[in-house]
Amino acid sequence: MWKWLHPYAKADRAYQLCNTLLPYFAVITVVCLVVGWVWGLAFAPADYQQKDSYRIIFIHVPSAILSMGAYSSMAIAAIVALVWQLRNAELAVIAIAPVGAAMTAIALITGAAWGKPMWGAWWVWDARLTSELILLFLYLGVLSLYHAFEDKKAAGKAACILAIVGVINLPIIHFSVEWWNTLHQGATITKFDTSAIDPSMLWPLFINIAGFAGFVGVISLIRLKNEILQREKHRPWVRSLVSRG
């Protein structure tokens, strides 16, 4: 199984792979995001209870899902990097982290903006919002640890270790926060029942999720390309690539 993967362990092949994948991801992203946003904002019917404010769901839910998804893919890359000593996987960890942090930030901001009309407060110590906030701290930890090291080889390894420690802790944190929340829950919080959502709202949601996933892919690929270039700066293939155009 590893045979077909092996060539991509070489930096220049990985760079080429990024280049081939990038257009597909870009097309998916642009199409899905345009369709999803227009549909979600203008064509999806208004919610019976929350009226038009529920339209935030079309960016809040995808960004929340992708913030978790990006973290788990980052952790998988970190495990691959440490176990099989693959340099490119290490770079992938660093490439995914910023876009994951951005997704988390979007989920938090949209959550707050949705919470104000619904709950009457910008911030509520709701279990999901709280664990999202902690997730943001974990992302920022990985990023700031990476940037604190001068030796980027050591930086990559350290970031990988932290990402793995984080992913082991994440379920524990999530579970504990949820449990803490049910313990302290006040009466003001209304729960959203997402399972009973109407298909006419579900479709734009799915399309938006696909669009956000594509966006995470696009940014990860671009940043992975950058990281490879940065690390292989002095290699001949980079030079010929640059001088070609």
Binding site: S144, F149, L162, W180
Partner: protein, 228 residues
């Protein structure tokens, strides 16, 4: 020279070195405790001295203070060994590095965690905590503070090679402390309401068991990265 491998001997050697050093520079033991005490003193001054309010907030205050004073000692955990080259000698020993790390974490707990457990009754008195909650406070500190040392040591190992590792370490470690904080404070809360708190203690114990096994591995690989 005779070579005689004994894991227990190694554990003792590393542990006793750290503890001896701490006892030679008393400040290392006393300062975190004083810090703990001062933080706890600040709360009544900030939020008012009503006994009811204090008792309500006591578990949280005691635990936040415990988290912060554990962080104080963590920065030093590997720093001296890193700078004088002892860490390299530890890596270049025929023993597994994780065992040395286990001994060092245990020593750190003896120096910072254990005194806090012993002083807990006094803090509970200061905060007007109900007497039935005292047992829970001591028990959660007893199980929770080694957990803090283990998790914190991962951060300390990752940042030991950095110039300004101290603040960064707090940023990395504090989010990971959240589950400990939640379960410990809720155990004290339950006990002050005369409810059973065995469940929370069991969860803390389970986390400690996992940390005992997994954390030394993470810490030793972090140290290898920092040394390279």
């Amino acid at each position: 020279m005779q070579v005689n491998h004994s894991y227990w001997q190694l554990f003792k050697a590393v542990y006793s070195k750290d503890v001896t050093l701490a006892f030679r520079q008393r400040a290392e033991i006393v300062n975190p405790l004083l810090f703990f005490l001062i933080v706890i003193t600040l709360f009544p001054l900030a939020i008012g001295p009503e006994p009811g309010l204090l008792a309500r907030m006591a578990p949280g205050i005691i635990w936040v203070a415990a988290l912060l004073s554990t962080m104080l000692g963590l920065d030093k955990l590997f720093r001296d060994d890193y700078h004088d080259g002892s860490l390299e000698q530890m890596i270049a020993s025929p023993y597994p590095l994780s065992l040395c790390v286990l001994a060092k974490v245990f020593a750190h707990w003896t120096i910072t965690g254990l005194p806090m457990v012993l002083m807990a009754p006094m803090f509970a008195l200061l905060m007007n905590l109900e007497s039935q909650a005292l047992g829970a406070t001591i028990l959660t500190l007893l199980i929770g503070t080694p957990l803090l040392s283990f998790i914190g040591a991962i951060g300390a190992g990752l940042t030991v090679g950095l110039q300004k590792g101290g603040i960064l370490m707090s940023l990395l470690v504090l989010p990971l402390y959240i589950p400990v904080l939640i379960f410990a404070t809720s155990a004290i809360d339950s006990s002050s309401m005369s409810l059973a708190y065995g469940g929370q203690l069991a969860i803390l114990g389970a986390m400690l068991a996992v940390a005992c096994i997994a954390a030394p591995l993470a810490i030793s690989s972090a140290l290898r990265v920092s040394v390279s």
